[in-house]
Assembly symmetry: C2
Homo-oligomer: 400 residues x 2
């Protein structure tokens, strides 16, 4: 597997565009992703009970349509908590995109991100959709730019690998930064591939890879109304179809997709609002992967852990306390904690580390914290960032 | 019921002292509470799997002893994650206190709060326990001062009411501020009463009143290894014993205890690290009280809600989103949200409020947010504070 250029538009048959249509004052705010041939679709949506109109529309589209050719995404307004009018607006985005591209309405998915509880400036978005069509190109950066909200950098990646000698590509883009928590926070990710893969297998792969990437990142523990991961696979690479999880191509495809999703996830954490440090929590020696993820999530979501790391303070007690309230069963006295390569806490609460060594690890921009529960062989990795004053500044006046 | 002076030492037969013994550099760090006659004991402890030595010692004492006469509490060091040596130190605190007061070892409870993972300077604490005895007085302020950690003010209260014409008193003190979350965070509360009440009834009352006070406050969502609520009832008021929850004195006693615990809880929130605003979340129209509390807790713990209120921004979408991921079942379109007396969100996502009116409410120091789920008649109140840059400053360098 190697990196390629083109982002979301890298796989064969896919093009994209990103423009300014007027939801935001000046920045790009509308993305269009297009596939020249029908693509199988898979998705993972927010677990929040409050679901934005585009989430409801896409669920309905995915339920009844066998294939898709376009995704229209606006930033600047989430079209969430907007009732019937919000639903009408989301369906209008579907209709106009279909008409502008001369494809079926059933082949269009939509997405929105931004402020909650305000109606979309729908006329601007519909005009923008029409305007974006002639700008579709084999280059994903403009599209990746246009889905940003408080993101400070554009998040895109693309890889190429072979399945039975046939080159296959996966491209992706994401937006994140605020409100990021496990279980789909205001986090949007769009992934395209020219791999040929059955719908059920694609859905299974998308779910599993999302659980091990987007559901293992945390910025502030909140989950949003709009999150989604959409994956389109148009089959244009021409590989033998991956028709089951037992197919020999399944594993290499899964790993490539997981790699793309993990890359996008890490970019989201690195761009966490106010983040100054990237933190990897490795929970090892757990009884189950689910338990390891649960404990790692509690550590990653702890404001006290995140502020301590921000202050480069080796306050390991807060890490152990977070595992303690995570809800998993474990023996506190068996736990070992390591910062980078420096052992901090050994079994039976033996604490024997130099503050200088610990500080040296914590002064880095990327910090790995390993917690060994010594109860089994399962593990899980979780990614988060520190909590800074800047986070407060950004979120205290988001709407204004 | 009316307020009285004396705090924890207000009830008949109780005295207290607070001194500097040397755990901290200069501030008071050791409290002693004493009852001249044996008192029934009740307690609620942290739900964290990692439990500090004093928590384990007190659980053991409460299991085997019918009555208690003293509590020794140090601040500055939590004696948590300290293994066997920590247990030995906690038991040494019990033994020395018993000996200094000429009471039984089985009659002593202990408590600690402060940094995790360091051994107690036990010699200083034991010397302090002896030194505190002659300083016992009918005045609780010194004791309440000595249990503070990052608390910016002393938290104590006392009330008097009558049961069948007999005056009865309840006094209490607490420490909180950092790491406060529902389900007992680093939150210590000690309550004394001269009411005569059976042990089982006292335990039931303590559990229920704690659930509706200390378990309904949140500063940062973390729960600690040391939390406890200890209640001692020495019966010296001489009321007819409250021997069951059906006894006519049960309800007035319960309400007085709940009032004391709620007062202490609110003081803890008002003193939340870096807090500039006190926020009351009223979740109404819920199907069950537990569901109402669960939804209110999610709102109270949301960093995005807390930063928005810090910034005096009427971002009601974050409140609805938090209810959405709280895990309760509800109809988002039925929800109404009010800031103070100003309706913000009406049913069916009707948003019709003036930013000026909303801002006027949010500029206050104490803010009431009412969420009506319109699904039933149950409700719950939750108290929290805003999230400020100062919180980050305090917690980034707690140990140093």
């Amino acid at each position: 597997m190697h990196d390629i250029a083109g982002g979301i538009a890298a796989p064969t048959g896919f093009t994209s565009a990103g423009i300014h249509c007027g939801v935001k004052k000046a920045k790009k705010d509308l993305s269009l992703v297009y596939s020249s041939s029908p693509a199988t679709g898979a998705a993972v949506f927010t677990t929040n009970k409050v679901q934005a109109a585009p989430v409801l529309v896409d669920r309905s589209q995915l339920d009844r349509s066998p294939s898709f050719r376009a995704i229209l995404i606006n930033s600047g307004n989430a079209n969430a908590c907007t009732g019937d009018r919000g639903m009408e607006d989301a369906w209008a985005m579907v209709r106009t995109t279909a008409s502008a591209l001369s494809i079926k309405e059933a082949e269009v998915l939509v997405s929105s991100t931004g402020v909650i509880g305000q109606y979309l400036p729908i006329e601007k978005i519909l005009a923008g959709a029409v305007q974006a069509v002639p700008l579709l190109e084999k280059e994903g950066t403009a599209a990746a730019e246009a889905i940003r909200t408080t993101d400070t950098f554009t998040k895109e990646t693309a890889v190429e690998f072979t399945l039975g000698g046939v080159p296959v590509r996966i491209g992706g883009m994401a937006k994140g930064s605020g409100m990021i928590a496990p279980n789909m926070a205001t986090m949007l990710a769009f992934v395209t591939t020219d791999a040929k893969i059955d719908r059920d297998v694609l859905q299974h792969t998308t779910r599993l890879a999302s659980d091990r990437s987007f559901n293992r990142i945390s910025v502030d523990g909140d989950t949003s109304t709009n999150d989604m991961v959409l994956v389109l696979a148009n089959g244009m690479a021409g590989n033998t179809p991956i028709d089951s999880v037992d197919h020999p191509f399944y594993k290499p495809f899964y790993h490539a997709l997981e790699e793309v999703l993990i890359r996008l996830s890490k970019m989201i954490v690195m761009d966490g609002e106010g983040a100054t440090k990237f933190i990897e929590i490795r929970m090892t020696g757990a009884a189950t992967e689910a338990g390891a993820a649960q404990a790692a999530r509690a550590v990653a979501n702890s404001n006290l852990v995140k502020t301590a790391i921000h202050g480069e303070d080796a306050n390991w007690g807060r890490i152990l306390a977070a595992v303690g309230y995570s809800g998993i069963d474990f023996d506190p006295a068996a736990v070992e904690i390591q910062f980078g390569d420096v052992p901090i806490l050994r079994r039976n609460y033996v604490i024997d580390f130099s503050e200088e060594q610990a500080k040296a690890v914590l002064m880095r921009k990327e910090i790995i914290i390993t917690v060994n529960l010594h109860q089994g062989t399962a593990s899980a990795v979780f990614w988060t960032c520190d909590l800074s004053k800047e986070y407060v500044t950004i979120n205290a006046n988001y709407r204004t």
